[in-house]
């Protein structure tokens, strides 16, 4: 039986019940959310389960949504089942004041630098990471540049009037 999004959804809901939320399928990729204390449990289940076999970690990244109070930061895991060639996306939201999320380096060695990158750019604190320090930016940096409060262009510039283009 091919592994479809419906079977994956049924399988994980059977295991975790109501705790997994926000099921969507943008552009065909099954996406759902897990509570932040449960990310490791869910990933472990997805890895170990004989039917699901999500054993390849494609990517970890984060996004900052300043307009969602209590869920400002999200860590996004892209997983791949290479046998059935299915990809899924798992999202774990956290508030920005205490952005602690369990590391998955125990499960995937690839997660090491991906988590360091996410920490570097968005300030997500991966609990239990063996070497959580900045990776691409200088160590002396005291902020996390991909957060939305850091605008890209110098806002004091007056030679460019954004209002003219509806951006103001």
């Amino acid at each position: 039986m091919p592994l479809t999004n419906e079977t994956i959804k049924a399988r994980v809901t059977e295991k975790f019940g109501e705790q997994l939320t926000g099921f969507e399928e943008p552009y065909g990729m099954l996406t759902f959310e897990a509570p932040k204390e449960m990310n490791l449990k869910v990933l472990n289940f997805l890895y170990d389960d004989e039917e699901l076999k999500f054993r390849f970690l494609t990517d970890i990244t984060g996004v900052h949504y300043p307009d969602k109070p209590g869920r400002e930061l999200v860590v996004v895991y892209h997983l791949h089942n290479m046998v059935d060639n299915v990809r899924i996306r798992l999202k774990v939201f956290t508030n920005i004041n205490q952005p602690d999320i369990y590391t998955v380096t125990g499960l995937f060695s690839a997660a090491n630098w991906m988590e360091r990158e996410t920490y570097d750019f968005l300030g997500v604190n991966f609990v239990g990471h063996p070497n959580l320090k900045r990776i691409l930016n200088v160590e002396e940096m005291d902020y996390h540049p991909l957060r939305k409060e850091f605008p890209l262009e110098d806002q004091t510039r007056i030679d460019k009037d954004d209002e003219m283009f509806g951006r103001g």
Binding site: P26, Y27, M29, T31, R55, F56, L57, T58, D59, T61, V63, H64, V76, H78, M82, N85, R87, R89, F108, S109, A110, N112, W113, M114, E117, F121, R134, I135, L136, N137, V138, P145, L146, F150, L152, E153, F165, G166, R167
Partner: protein, 407 residues
């Protein structure tokens, strides 16, 4: 008297290992990468990698740029095969916008992508030869990389940072010179590749240097997120072109070469075989492109006026074209909201683009999944316990491109 003046760091008398700083600007690292090695004699005990020396904040920059301007950022990821990155980016945008490209565009893209793959593998393999002390092969094949760059030049006007193609297709049709050069390449390159192969493949010195060095098992390679030739060298036949075909790759007949041991020699062989397979794809693609006759042979982009620049003559004479021209140039086109992950088989492995749009004019968030970045973290495991000179070979056979590593 003098011994009182020298202040040695605590514990340095008892220390039995040597600390060696390899890089960031060392000719053998081919890029700005630093490794702080602990050596016991010439054997490596441990290493700490420092990366980020050419970090240019592309992900942040992309948040203020309209789609067309992000193509130039992707050029600078893996700058040895920029067209692959460009195509990956266009395909991601097309997936998000739901654009279907004509077959001829797909085939032309395949031509460009496979040329880029050949040039990338060619550099990697010939540089591996240079690192082992064989300079001839590198100089010899460089002529044919030059020919590939000349083809890019005919297609888009640039050579290294190509900015090739547009959303929906190409900015112009391939001209006759491009096809003539492609024909020349298809005719001459097999002989050159064979000669290059003869120079290295059964070369005793090269084999001694690369066999059993930097090896990784298939299981560890998967756990480390390896993709591309490095994963296939370990024996796993994962190739995005076959697993999730894009740009009509399903129309082509080609094999996926795999290795067995995952060592440097297998990486070399896999890349070498991939060049032969790319040649096969190129021949088929060229044939398919020639089958389009008459007005079909003039098709080089999809009909997407909102994202594809109109011809300049129309801009001056037609109102709609003028509006679209203005909106595209000024970056005023609204991108539909959505979230998409799209990946292609770049020369180093799976190059992914994770694109979140909130309906604005620029991406809300854009993340590049760079294959180099993912597999370079395995470097310590690959070189531990080996000789220092093997670590250099491993670095060049992994094909680390600093631009891609640091984004």
């Amino acid at each position: 008297m003098s011994e009182h003046n020298i202040k040695l760091p605590e514990g340095s008398i008892e220390k039995t290992t040597t600390t060696l700083n390899l890089g960031p600007t060392h000719p053998a690292t081919h890029g700005v990468m630093q490794n702080i090695l602990e050596l016991d004699g010439e054997r490596i005990v441990s290493t700490e990698q420092t990366i980020g020396y050419i970090h240019r904040a592309f992900e942040k920059l992309a948040e203020r740029r309209p789609l067309a301007q992000i193509t130039t950022l992707t050029d600078r990821l893996n700058y040895v095969s920029s067209p692959l990155n460009n195509m990956g980016w266009h395909l991601t945008c097309e997936k998000l916008l739901g654009i279907k490209t004509p077959k001829r565009v797909d085939y032309l893209r395949v031509i460009v992508m496979e040329l880029a793959r050949i040039s990338d593998h060619l550099i990697c393999n010939s540089i591996a030869g240079v690192d082992a002390g064989a300079y001839t092969g590198f100089l010899y094949v460089m002529q044919y990389r030059e020919l590939i760059y000349e083809i890019y030049e005919e297609v888009c006007g640039a050579r290294i940072t190509t900015n090739i193609g547009r959303i929906g297709g190409f900015e112009r049709n391939f001209n006759d010179i491009a096809f003539q050069k492609l024909e020349k390449f298809l005719k001459e390159y097999p002989r050159v590749l064979k000669e290059f192969e003869n120079l290295f493949q059964r070369n005793r010195i090269f084999m001694d240097r690369t066999k059993n060095t930097g090896a990784i098992s298939a299981e560890r390679a998967l756990n480390y997120g390896f993709t591309g030739p490095n994963l296939r060298a370990a024996g796993i036949d994962y190739d995005v072109r076959v697993h999730t075909p894009y740009s009509s790759y399903e129309d082509f007949d080609f094999n996926i070469p795999v290795g067995t041991t995952g060592d440097n020699y297998d990486r070399f062989l896999v890349r070498n075989q991939e060049m032969w397979q790319s040649l096969r794809i190129l021949e088929q693609a060229y044939q398919k492109v020639q089958e389009f006759k008459g007005s079909e042979a003039e098709v080089y982009h999809a009909d997407v006026p909102e994202y594809y620049l109109p011809p300049k003559a129309d801009v001056y004479t037609k109102m709609e074209a003028l509006i679209y021209h203005f909106k595209i140039i000024m970056g005023e086109t609204e991108i539909p909201a959505g979230e998409v992950y799209n990946s292609i088989e770049a020369a180093n492995g799976e190059l992914g683009f994770y694109f979140i749009s909130d309906g604005g004019r620029t991406p809300y968030r854009l993340h590049f999944r760079r294959p180099c970045f993912v597999y370079y973290q395995a470097y310590e495991e690959l070189i531990k316990g080996g000789m220092l000179s093997d670590a250099i070979m491993t670095m060049s056979c992994l094909n680390l491109i600093a631009g891609e590593l640091d984004a």
